[in-house]
Amino acid sequence: MVKEFERAGFTIVQMANLIPVAKTVGSNRIVPTISIPYPLGDPATTKEEQWKLRYYRVGVALDSLTTDIKEQTVFKVKI
């Protein structure tokens, strides 16, 4: 899907936990998520912590959209 969107001219970032899979399918901008069943919020943490993590990682994804890249890039996350 990512490739089709990118081919059509949309700047796209894939947020995924399985980085090897995202790389294999040919995503160019990749931001890691924390797991498969809950990509952006660990249910074992408080709602506030989940929000904080989600806000931060989506922020990284938004910033990745404004970043010029030369090759497939996995953007680093701190939390």
Partner: protein
């Protein structure tokens, strides 16, 4: 009796050499050049031969296709052949183009033949049967015979034994088969291990395919003016799954209006994705489709605005062909709203 038509270039069509490469397409009743050989082996009547100059088709592709499709539209035929093109690059590409167009327009089997170094092989092997042909016209008889033998199989509906056994280039189409010798996977694995450990040759049953890449889309210059859309393969849908998206091997997708919605609430949305534990996503669908934080970024002015719909399907077991089709079905909606960028979340 079934009928066949064959395409050849100006040289094999006996029009002339390089000086005649601008020759415009013609269709002749009966057999010219390689078609004579084809008729010897084919259990179908070769009714016509189409001849076209390699340069003409190369530089006027659209025009040439129009003429050739025009020739064919009132003809009855069950199978189409082109070449063999050996190592002739322009001829190979022409065979590929004509065969592809015939297959798309008439939905009948098309067969051609090229040497492995012919650029037409890489360009068209996924679209048609290209037989592994010889380097030069010295192999004409063998190559035509191989094409005809396989054509006979297809016409009779006999079992295709696969690319290697039949002698055509692999098309990237993999299906399961039962091994004739019945040797089970455990024995194959242990025997392969012993060979690998002893430096003996062995054959993997899954050669690594080459990766298809797309050019990187340019960065967004001013995010505060950009329209962003959310897409997910994590199967988040309204609770009653109105589009009946399948929980695995999905062929359907949905777009759901989020105007005025700041948060995907439990009990209103859920996941129908069967490939992961749904508990967390059902309890808070924002962990898969981060609508709540996107609204926050929208209010802050970090992004221009969020597109009024999110798009959802299920990634597990969904084929690339289906995924590509679904993406292409979503694209017009995204373009209509002048979406600049997409965040795709996957599970």
């Amino acid at each position: 009796m079934k009928k066949a038509i064959m395409y050849v270039n100006q040289f094999f069509g006996q029009i002339g050499g390089e000086d005649k490469a601008d020759f415009k397409p013609v269709i002749k009743c009966g057999l010219v050049g390689p078609a004579v050989e084809l008729q010897k082996h084919l259990d179908a009547e070769v009714t016509h031969t189409i001849i076209c100059g390699d340069n003409f088709i190369g530089s006027n592709t659209e025009k040439a296709m129009e003429i050739i499709m025009g020739f064919l539209k009132d003809k009855e035929f069950d199978i189409f052949f082109a070449g063999p093109a050996f190592q002739a690059g322009r001829y190979g590409v022409a065979c590929g183009q004509v065969c592809k167009a015939v297959k798309e327009k008439f939905n009948i089997p098309v067969i051609t033949s090229m040497h492995i170094e012919n650029p037409g092989v890489e360009m068209f092997k996924k679209d048609m049967y290209i037989f592994k042909g010889g380097h030069s016209a010295a192999k004409m008889k063998d190559d035509v015979k191989a094409m005809a033998a396989f054509g006979n199989k297809l016409l009779k509906g006999e079992e295709n034994l696969g690319a290697d056994e039949e002698g055509y280039y692999a098309r990237g189409i993999r299906h399961q088969v039962w091994r004739k010798d019945g040797v089970m996977a455990a024995d194959r694995a242990v025997e392969m291990t012993i060979k690998k450990l002893n430096g003996k040759p062995y054959e993997t049953e899954l050669p690594m395919p080459k990766m298809d890449r797309v050019p990187i889309a340019p960065a967004i210059k001013d995010l505060s003016k950009a329209v962003i859309a959310l897409v997910t393969s994590g199967g988040i849908v309204p609770i009653d799954n109105p589009d009946r998206i399948q929980s695995a091997s999905a062929t359907r997708w949905g777009r759901y209006n989020i105007e005025g919605i700041d948060d995907l609430k439990e009990g209103v949305y859920k996941t129908i994705h069967a490939g992961y534990d749904p508990a967390a996503a059902d309890a808070d669908p924002d962990v898969v489709v981060p609508l709540d934080v996107m609204r926050a970024y929208e209010k802050e002015g970090k992004i221009g605005r969020l597109h009024n719909y999110f798009y959802s399907t299920v990634g597990t077991g969904t084929t690339q062909g289906e995924a590509a089709r679904m993406a292409n079905e979503m694209i017009p909606y995204l373009k209509e709203d002048e979406v600049d960028a997409i965040i795709l979340t996957s599970t």
